[in-house]
């Protein structure tokens, strides 16, 4: 939907009245109704347990109270409006949901009682199941690995978990943090041993049963 036109193509020598062709692009932005998913808002409202998001007055309290909104490609307020209006792909591809640190400031401050953090969780799940999350973006990788580890061991082991995440996303980062890991190990705050519960079968059964019930429900 966005077509990017290089300014250079308009100017014979790549320059146009002080316009630096390299830095400035003209972006065409338009959205056609047919590109939108009309049922997206219902899907998310159901996943996030609340239709309150329909009542958003776009006041921006969430964005202003968010500690990381200035890094997001869409502020949380915009995300709510985009969800309401069915901008499914743009929302699921955005960095916003992965930057949310779940600090719940927005949820507490929202004057309309929208559980914005839960909306973000719903969007994270939706993005993972739609395969939309950025491949080398650490947050979803961490989430997935964490999930797998708890599924297998019942507990999470911070050392091995972080190692895996760094290896999968940015091996350079792991090297950068070697010093930190060493100090943690020295103060007895890090083991590379895997933690686990004694009765691992019970947890497997529990999660297996959830799967079975979900399948039955789907049928």
């Amino acid at each position: 939907m966005d077509t990017t036109i290089d300014v250079k193509s308009f100017a014979p020598n790549g320059k146009q009245n002080g316009y630096n062709g390299k830095a400035k692009m003209i972006n065409r932005k338009i959205k056609y109704e047919s590109e939108l998913s009309s049922d997206f808002k219902e899907t998310i409202a159901e996943l996030a347990h609340g239709e309150k998001l329909y009542g958003c007055i776009q006041c921006g309290t969430c964005s202003a109270t968010c500690p990381v909104s200035h890094y997001m490609d869409y502020t949380p307020r915009k995300i709510i409006q985009m969800v309401r209006e069915g901008f499914r792909d743009d929302v699921l591809k955005s960095s916003t949901v992965w930057l949310c640190a779940s600090c719940y400031s927005c949820t507490v401050e929202c004057p309309k009682g929208i559980k914005i953090t839960d909306v973000m969780y719903a969007l994270k799940r939706e993005a993972i199941s739609a395969g939309y999350f950025p491949k080398r973006f650490p947050t979803p990788v961490l989430a997935e690995n964490f999930f797998a580890q708890v599924l297998n061991n019942g507990r999470n082991s911070e050392g091995p978990l972080l190692m895996k995440m760094y290896m999968k996303t940015n091996p350079f980062n792991a090297l950068k943090n070697t010093m930190l890991a060493f100090r943690l190990w020295k103060t007895g705050r890090l083991t590379l041993k895997t933690e686990h519960t004694k009765d691992r079968k019970s947890l497997k059964k529990l999660l297996g049963s959830i799967d079975k019930q979900k399948e039955a429900l789907a049928k």
Binding site: A101, Y104, R155, T187, K205
Partner: protein, 300 residues
């Protein structure tokens, strides 16, 4: 009253000194606290991002284990010191109360793994228990080495007071400051008590997470705090262990002790620093030690 204790994964690794100091303080205050048998991970925030029902199920397993262990009690009080665990367990309990269909599914699944969940569990944060059950007066009575002159910046972080807990004000919490006062120290009035430390972002996307931690420490030292007191293992980890990275990245010289509130309590109760896990700190709270020995504090 008897309490069950749910440590969570962090208190067994990076947050080891939180567990050590907290248990020592409980013991000093003569509280009856037992760890939940064979508990599992609460699921934290990451699990919620992948599968909600499963996230609630694994968290509910811990609640069921608590009921099994204290099956004779009318009301079971579970202390969850890690903010994330506390919030997740609380959320699970509330969610199951409101969504009966989901509760049914999870109860079925628990039954298949040989457990049952009735809903008798109350999730308590140690701050809640210490201030509301034990009381600041009792704590003050037990103090042998008051931390007179120590300026403490109480840092509650996000999930201790938000969004489900009701034991403290969500915007202007005061329980940790109450404890600070009870142990003879002085609270710093600052606006970042519940500002996010960056949580998992500090480890994953440090470009975003690190500045958040840095701003908190900078404000605390600007307001002349001798030490930052926390109630969350992740906050403590982010604020303390990344100080070198911060100083490198922001060309600064931040050097401020970040300890658990239970460690400060332990010092005031006269517990040996090693028992409190003070030796595990990267940045020992020098000013606190100096003041306790009657010396002059130094600001870097």
């Amino acid at each position: 009253m008897r309490y069950l204790y749910y440590p969570g994964c962090s208190l067994k690794s990076t947050g080891k000194s939180y567990e050590e100091s907290l248990l020592a303080v409980f013991k000093a205050l003569k509280m009856d606290v037992v760890e939940i048998n064979d508990w599992n991970c609460c699921g934290a925030t990451a699990y919620m991002a992948v599968d909600e029902t499963k996230a609630f199920a694994i968290a509910a397993r811990n609640l069921a284990l608590a009921e099994e262990q204290f099956n004779k009690e009318e009301e079971i009080h579970v202390i969850a010191p890690c903010s994330a665990c506390y919030m997740v367990l609380l959320k699970t309990k509330m969610f199951l109360e409101q969504n009966l269909a989901e509760k049914g599914r999870i109860k079925n699944a628990l039954k298949e793994s040989g457990l049952n969940y009735e809903g008798k569990v109350k999730i308590r944060h140690p701050l809640d228990v210490l201030v509301n059950d034990i009381g600041v007066k009792e704590i003050a009575k037990a103090v042998t080495h008051p931390l007179k002159g120590v300026k403490v910046a109480s840092y509650y972080g996000c999930q201790t007071v938000r969004p489900y807990s009701t034991f403290d004000d969500q915007r202007e919490p005061h329980t940790m400051d109450d404890i600070t006062a009870a142990i003879g120290a002085e609270s710093v009035d600052w606006p970042l008590k519940t500002r996010c430390c960056g949580a998992s972002l500090t480890g994953t996307i440090d470009r975003v997470g690190l500045p958040l931690s840095f701003m908190i420490l900078k404000e605390a030292s600007k307001r002349r705090a001798d030490v930052v007191s926390t109630s969350c293992p992740l906050c403590q980890f982010n604020l303390e262990c990344y100080q070198d990275n911060m100083n490198k990245q922001f060309r600064n010289d931040i050097h401020i002790g970040v300890v658990y509130f239970s460690q400060l309590m332990g010092l005031a109760l006269g517990i040996d620093p090693k028992t409190l896990g003070m030796n595990r700190l990267f940045v020992p709270p020098e000013n606190v030690y100096k003041i306790m020995k009657g010396g002059e504090k130094v600001y870097v």
